[in-house]
Point group: C5
Chain length 298, copies 5
């Protein structure tokens, strides 16, 4: 995610960040520029087509449909933004759930079960790392904290690591209940927290695996292309060579919206607009350390 101050207009307007749609669309914009220039040259200089009112009137198509395309693109962007925001919410909940469970475990386990506390601290941290790796389809073993009963290297690439981890955590909780460390109401409280971990994992998988339906996405792309590539036909006799910046700018606006939507609808990647999952994992780990090993906090 790009950190920025939204109130710095001048800086934002003149900088061309690598997340900027201008940069992403550059090759396409060049192409549109060349296409429109060629079209304008051929029509105005070479073919010498007489100005026909019919072609001119075709511009009515673009004003009639300009409204639909705008609405569709804006809704598309907002749908994508909703997913991005939901992904953000899920990771925010993960931070919360980690903190809550850490606070509770610390005081439920007390001073005497230091080992257990360390176990849970590491395992919860590992869960977050595992979720991040799961969502990015990577698997960086070095990011995990080493625990004897959890030999991360032995887990195959195709197994569902977060599920495996939460299973181990819950197993330990129920074991501790059997040993009498946790009482019935503690189990209810802890269960509420750990259930959230799986729910967050499921929600993130859903966002990741369900892009907008194919028909919708495909229709929108076709619509933009036909709309922009037929623009010169309708406006050439009104604008002559001014048609070139005109078409390029319209295409820039419409395609930018689609490109922004594509980028933010999957918020778990490592792109510039994506959520800072690495930083969040670090935050969670630091919180866990602060809460569960009080000597470091003081």
């Amino acid at each position: 995610m790009v950190d920025y101050n939204p109130k710095e207009w001048v800086k934002i307007i003149f900088s061309i960040h690598k997340a900027d749609t201008l940069r992403k669309l550059f090759p396409l914009l060049i192409f549109v520029f060349l296409y429109t220039s060629a079209f304008a040259y051929l029509v105005l200089e070479y073919w010498d087509v007489g100005e026909t009112a019919d072609l001119k009137n075709l511009s009515v198509l673009h004003s009639l449909l300009g409204f639909v395309i705008s609405l569709l693109l804006v809704f598309r962007t907002n749908t994508a933004y909703d997913r991005w925001w939901e992904g953000r919410k899920q990771w925010g909940s993960l931070v919360n759930a980690s903190r809550n469970v850490a606070v509770k475990l610390t005081y439920l386990l007390g001073e005497t079960h230091t080992e257990e506390k360390l176990y849970f601290q590491k395992m919860i941290g590992n869960y977050c790392v595992a979720l991040k790796n799961h969502l990015r389809k990577t698997n960086f073993y070095h990011e995990y904290e080493h625990i004897e009963t959890f030999p991360i290297q032995r887990i195959g690439d195709d197994s569902h690591v977060p599920n495996h981890l939460i299973g181990l955590i819950q197993q330990r909780v129920f074991e501790l209940q059997r040993k009498g460390v946790f009482s019935a109401e503690h189990i209810l409280i802890l269960d509420y927290e750990f259930r959230q971990f799986t729910e967050i994992c499921g929600a993130c998988e859903r966002i990741k695996n369900s892009p907008i339906p194919y028909s919708y996405s495909s229709f929108l792309k076709k619509f933009i292309i036909i709309y922009c590539f037929s623009l010169p036909v309708g406006y050439i006799f009104n604008l002559h060579y001014l048609i070139i910046p005109f078409v390029v700018f319209v295409f820039y606006v419409l395609a930018s919206l689609e490109v922004i939507a594509e980028e933010i609808e999957d918020p778990f990647g490592a792109d510039a607009n994506d959520l800072p999952l690495d930083r969040m994992c670090e935050t969670i780990k630091r919180s866990l350390r602060e809460i569960m090993t009080p000597q470091q906090a003081s």
Copy 2:
């Protein structure tokens, strides 16, 4: 569901997938093409109607109402998309609930109740299959895992299989409480999970059985048809034969939106845009196996 990479513009624009609205609308587009061609020929060549300003001015109708029709269609698509997304959420919750309940049952039942574990594992898998079949109004007996106490073949086609299954599962849970295997707080925890199964089933039935109100759908279709079929009247003297691609393209855009909405508003079918229920059932079954029979996971 079609798996695709939304960032591959060129591929998406030039491929005509079977889920593409262009393919679905092809017969209708041909019809609109023939209608407009005939109309244009008759008006311009045969009837030799003089250009009257009155008819020309009728085009004001289309710009006045162009806005309403666009808004209605975009909202229609978004309502449909909301259902699709809600259906997706429900099945995501089913995956989650299955995992959660599996993790809990595994450690609550421990090493000693292997048979019970197997029972629950199969029954939860069967529940998901039953829900899929219920929503698609199919009943493929071979998809169910065989359990002695659950003779699937004996269940009639008209009975509500998911309800029947959840009843059997809950019966077993309460039996195990009576036997002292589960304690009071475990019942509360398990109840929370199993309640979700019925809630998911109910929500999916709601999405399936409540299409958008008839008045709305019928009005929209009538509006699109009248709008498009009166387009040539208003624009024929401005565009002459150019009216043909014009009307075809406008119809393509408007009808596509309605067609996309129709397709995605019932997300449980077996169409190209529908949710991959089969794949999800497989995912659930694999998760259940991984969690509940640990020897296979290692």
Copy 3:
């Protein structure tokens, strides 16, 4: 509710169902037709008003405000649809809650308390019927199942029957706890379910009793009328007699949206677009029978 296949375009376009807005608006459309015809005749033939640019330019009013009226109507329809959908959700939840509570009561009461089971089965069914009658302000005594301790005929028309019923049900639950049939955690589980019944009832009453604020509804109707009845003034010199179909069609579109909104915003009536409450009550009763008296299911 009208059952229909949204993909059957031809059938939907040419049929004029009784839920169709065309039928509902027919008298009004005739009136608008007569008004516009009279206006056109008077202006064009009788008064012989010279074509004045001023009147012609008044059409600018309709394009300026065409946008506001469209937006308002589309949002109006969507607000109404949201209520319809929320009503649908509430009844879906009622189906779910009934099933859940039935499953639980069946196994909590076991084989020995057949009478109690029958009592709950009938009372839950009666609750749904009572809610339906309450929302429709009818009271069909014959729809209730007879129970000795619940003499439905003795309840006055003005008392809140659903509340009365849920009170009796909860009374029985607490009695059974006192007798030792239900334990503490069962009470918690059952309470969660029965609380939903009152919540569903309250939500349905809210939807029923709170139409959109009067100012909003009144303003919208006045706006549509003034907008449509001033249309001929602005367009008469552009369209001459073509003004008649023009105004009728614009009015059809705008008024349809308002009519659809009015119909679906109270989804509990017995109109064509309303929710199939009768059918849902039957579904609930059948589910209850299937779950609570297993001999009938086999």
Copy 4:
């Protein structure tokens, strides 16, 4: 709240209810009428300004910005409507929570604790009255039911009466637990209900105390005024004296939307569009009586 039948078009269109925006805006409309008349007279008769194309072309401003102002106003109205609806939901929840808690208390307290039942019945009724008074910043002592342990007159005007009441209620609940009347699970059930009372109170306070941000509201008002008062400049040479009804009507439409939004965004007042809090308090009190003192119901 105005009770009305939304389907009675004729009645609604011709009646000018006191909640009607036409009545509220009357002085402003007169002012706009005088302003536009004076402007038109001065320009057309007195100053004798020649028709300049430049001024005429200024009308492009109004069509360019007509879209933004419409969108803003419609969204403004819908935001306000959302608050109104949320306020309605909260009071609906209050009715529900009162009923639920009454049903439970009745059977938990049984036949023997008549006095306690009466206490809770009165206190819950008083809570609703207190919330109403709190939200309206009034304090009608006569609306409260007299209870010895709750001397309403002694409470100062500045203290938070609903908080005070819920505190007394909870105190009594915990006392009854100590006396052994309520068991642990009953406390959990009752706590869930009483927590809702404070949550409803907080939500209503939030709606009441947070109008839409000042910048937004101030910008919108300035925009409407500049937009409408510059309308005559752009259109005077097209419409001449027709400009007068034109500007008045446009102002009526735009200002109505803002006025409706202002009215419904705080739904707890005593205006015509506001929620019928008095009636709802009566409903709650009657429900409490019916449920908790069964002799009156029969």
Copy 5:
């Protein structure tokens, strides 16, 4: 937050509050004024460019894209408003949660544990202050109430103070359970309340730390600038010197929307439109005092 009466039109229209966008945008408006004046002077007087239809027709760009820019800005404002409202909800929940937990602690601790009550009263108050300071990245030690076991000065600036505090509170709760002051069901009730504190903190951090994605914000600013700075090109020959107020006003409208959005999307600052966190902290502290030390209330 600015307290104001939204119904006072005249006052709002003529006052230029410091939160007014007019004041914030003043330097930019001057710049746009100078730019347009210079452009107009150069084109009309100095360069003496002949009126070319091509340039004139460029205005079609602004009407085609006027719709997209309006939609984008309105959605932008509404997204920002949603965050503002969510922030408001979170702080409303904090007020509620504080009240609820205070009521419960008061009666659970009874008359005998005065010291404990005072401890919780101060700690909950401190939590709210800490959250406020945390969100504003300030740390005013004097705002905290002094407690012996919580030496606020010793906490480093980089530690997460709210987390630290909630940890201490929960520790005390579990200690009191061990001492037998709280029973199991009380722990469940209190846990529900305290969990909310962390959840509110997490949600506020999320709103604070996740501005709208950079691509979106950057694209919108670039779009506004290009749109407004190319306006004079398209309209100069229609409007001549009238272009100056025209462009300034359009820029005022569009930029205002962006500025409002920027202001309200982070509602936790100390700006004029931001939430009154200081006042809310005071409200919470007063509520806590009223509820937990009854002698002061009488």
